[in-house]
Amino acid sequence: MTYTANFRVWRGIGGEGELQDYTVEVNEGEVVLDVIHRIQATQEPDLGVRWNCKAGKCGSCSAEINGKPRLMCMTRMNTFEEGAPVTVTPMRTFPVIRDLVTDVSFNYEKGRQVPAFSPPKDLKPGDFRMQQKDVERSQEFRKCIECFLCTNTCHAVRDHEENVKFFAGPRVLMRTAELDMHPLDTLDRRRMAQDELGLGYCNITKCCTEVCPEHIHITDNALIPLKERVADLKYDPLRWLGNKIRVRGKDD
């Protein structure tokens, strides 16, 4: 099952760099990250790549493989034809630090703007009571491993660097939706989602959802409901409050 593959890997520091070709051994069951590691160990010791868990749990190894945004540790080599070149490039939306490693600090900066969870002041730890069906909506979003592939893919910032100032990207907007749907959160973040995080830039194309390795329904379950609630702002301030304290159906 061992064969020799042709890898084309983007190498460079900062914005400067180019694709370089490697011929490298591939064994049965391997993923792209294994092959990158083999290049590192045997040919290019200083090849920069981020990784941690090697099991799709930490969201470190995001890159673009044959142009598709993916986790390198979850992309099996048997999904490619033997012999066809495999091209690995860094995520396109974020500045490159080196080789396959990008600077994703933008996501942390935007994330820091979202006001934290705020439970009722008189509710003591240990006294929280929530039903499973009420936490499930936010739990879906908390599966997020912060790989930032969604934001990397979103056309509002991909190739539109000028929008970065105004648009926080799907990951951070989903965090806002998550807090909004938390049964015991008391803050209203709708105006900030619209005005500061740029929810309006999203035109629900679902490209983010397509690349999410956790299969989170970012657009349908987070962004669209958030947009609807922002729309409610204009005419029905009480409805939001009602939404927070009642059990909500999937599409209200």
């Binding site: 069951g29 820091r112 934290a116």
Partner: protein, 633 residues
């Protein structure tokens, strides 16, 4: 000397896993200016990978549970080698630490009455693990990360700067901890770090340093641990004048993936067994029934029928032997495979598909389903998994004061989480790590803050800084030298072969010979290229830590002539009551490691009386039992 940034803090936390973040939160809440440093990005420490849950005796699912039962389970699991005081504090404080997470936004799975749900796990008498599906570690790290952000938002409101009181330095590795003074005056003065992205050096001047650097598993070939686990904290504590305890005890988790080879070692969570998964060999036999040791005979089912009834009626039946402590299960699997009754790829079978409906499996074990489907083409709702032991956790760690987590021998140095030792004795129960991180992370943060107030600011001399810089730059002056990847891989193979799950005197001695050769090679290691995100350089700097820690494990393993928990000697197969009274402590000496025996503290009467004397008699010497009996008389 190139440009080096110098920063002043009260408390430096090395590590952004559960322990480090909880410590940093405590230090900041105590009003101290705190820095958090980590090798990987914020929110991606090893803790993110924890699956099963957090052990805390909240009693939400079975109200018979309380801290005393949790304490007893922990001591039993550790085969009574645990530091009793740590096990006591841990059992008492874990529930508060979990509830606190909920108040910071964690969304655990719920019971029907709306409380935090708790699941069964090996060695825990009652359902005790708070969890979120099988991604509990992710929930925990995200919650702590978001708590840090919440504090930063408060600081932004008060001081106009998010980073005023608590600042995160992600992808910033510490290569050296500064200490000064000798003997009783030995104390910390800061840390030397390099930013991985730029290769720039940063010097942190601080009176308190908390090591929360996690484990050592990257020194073994088959491991569930990532590149981060090179034992940096263990090694830096030792070199700074601290000591390590219990280093011979390494936990091999019974169920790692065995196929495909490239994912060999990746963890299959114990929840699979807690939720009904059974282990069988190639003959289809549920072999764990053949491996229930005498000390556990009273607590485990003898027949498959009783074991099966336990899942629905735990109060009237004994638990299945698949849920024995990890060391027992790992050894059993090892024996089955060696006896030729293994699965095609050298493991055994673990099956939930015949016991739970597919949708329940996908709901309870979503990431396991995902992991097997995507990495091994196996659908666990339809077919069994193949699993085998994998290096998972180190019980041994930095020797600390149990109440403050201050490292023995160095003032201002603290350790928490997997990098500290004593809490788990010879074997850790599943779920007891995440709770350990929270309980002792908080304690370390509190104590480090208090010490920083008393000690006041510190400054470092140019000479100290220059020496740390020279050491960090050394691999670049050897451009044609040894390949760091090759040394690391060979070390991993050697540790697996000679210091693995079953050990013998000859192999351990051989390991020590090999380690000396590795040390010589590591001294000649060379890297080329620039300092920006250069993984070869990073590994070159991790290697000395791996070697120190590997030597500690091998020496302590050679010293302990018995088998207990995560230390199995083929040539001393029995557990010995005399050895239970002894800890092995590692100290740095010359270019190597010295091991000394140290008496275990005596368990006070009120705690030891929680156990039956018949149970104690399996672990203790007659003299100990007599003095316990006199105490109660």
């Amino acid at each position: 000397m190139s440009q080096i940034t110098k920063l002043q803090f009260d408390v430096i936390v090395v590590g952004a896993g559960g322990a480090g973040l909880r410590a940093a939160i405590a230090a900041r809440e105590a009003g101290k200016k705190t820095a958090i440093l980590s090798k990987s990005l914020f929110g991606k420490a090893h803790t993110v990978m924890a699956e099963g849950g957090i052990a805390a005796s909240m009693g939400n699912v079975n109200s018979n549970d309380n801290w005393k039962v949790h304490f007893c389970d922990t001591m039993r699991g550790g085969k009574f080698l645990n530091h009793y005081r740590m096990a006591e504090l841990h059992a008492k404080e874990a529930p508060d630490r979990v509830w606190e997470l909920e108040a910071w936004g964690a969304l655990f799975d719920r019971t029907p009455d709306g409380k935090i749900s708790q699941r069964n796990f090996g060695g825990h008498e009652y359902p005790r693990l708070a969890h979120v599906g099988d991604r509990t570690g992710l929930e925990m790290i995200r919650t702590l990360q978001q708590r840090v952000v919440a504090l930063q938002q408060q600081d932004k409101a008060e001081f106009g700067d998010y980073d005023a009181m608590i600042q995160v330095f992600a992808e910033t590795s510490v290569s050296h901890v500064f200490v000064s003074g000798e003997g009783a005056d030995r104390k910390v003065s800061g840390a030397f770090a390099y930013a991985r992205g730029t290769g720039d050096f940063i010097v942190f001047e601080a009176p308190s340093v908390i090591l929360a650097t996690g484990g050592i598993g990257k020194s073994f070939k088959v491991t569930s641990n990532s590149w981060e686990y090179t034992g940096d904290g263990h090694s830096m504590a030792l070199i700074s004048g601290g000591s390590l305890v219990n280093m011979e005890f390494v936990q091999f988790h019974p169920t790692g993936m065995v196929w495909p080879l490239s994912v060999k070692g990746i963890l299959v969570t114990e929840s699979v067994r807690g939720d009904g998964g059974v282990l069988t060999n190639s003959e289809g036999r549920r072999f764990m029934f053949d491996y229930i040791p005498d000390v556990f005979k009273a607590q485990y089912a003898k027949t498959e029928e009783e074991a099966d009834r336990w899942y629905t009626d735990p109060d009237n039946n004994k638990r299945p032997p698949e849920l024995l402590p990890r060391d027992e299960v790992a050894r059993a699997i090892n024996t089955e495979v060696k006896a030729g009754r293994g699965s095609p790829h050298g493991g055994v079978f673990l099956d939930v598909s015949k016991r739970l409906p597919a949708d329940v499996i996908r709901a309870k074990l979503p990431s396991m389903w995902h992991q097997f489907k995507e990495l091994a083409d196996v659908d666990i709702t339809l077919e069994p998994m193949e699993v085998g032991p994998t290096c998972h956790y180190v019980m041994g760690g930095i020797e600390v004061d149990p109440d403050t987590q201050q490292a023995v021998g160095v003032k201002g140095l603290y350790a928490a989480g997997e990098s500290s030792g004593g809490m788990h004795g010879s074997n850790r129960l599943g779920g007891n790590s995440l709770s350990d991180l929270l309980v002792f992370g908080k304690r370390a943060g509190d104590a480090a803050a208090e010490y920083a107030s008393a000690a006041g600011p510190v400054t470092l001399s140019d000479a100290e800084i220059a020496a740390a810089e020279t050491a960090a730059m050394a691999p670049f002056s050897n451009a044609g030298g040894e390949n760091p990847y090759a040394i690391q891989q060979e070390l991993q193979q050697m540790m697996n072969d000679y210091v693995g799950i079953i050990r013998t005197e000859d192999e351990l001695k051989q390991a020590l010979v090999e380690i000396e050769k590795f040390k010589e090679r590591a001294a000649r290691v060379g890297v080329k290229g620039t300092r920006q995100y250069n993984p070869a350089w990073h590994i070159a700097l991790d290697l000395p830590h791996q070697l120190v820690v590997s030597e500690c494990i091998a020496r302590a393993a050679l010293g302990r002539e018995e088998s207990r928990g995560g230390h199995t000697r083929d040539d001393f197969a029995k557990m010995s009551p005399e050895w239970r009274q002894v800890n092995l402590i590692c100290y740095a000496e010359g270019t190597g490691v010295r091991v000394e025996k140290q008496a275990l503290p005596t368990i006070p009467q009120e705690l030891v009386s929680l156990f039956d004397s018949s149970e104690l008699s399996k672990y203790m010497t007659q003299a100990e039992l007599d003095s316990i009996a006199q105490g109660t008389a």
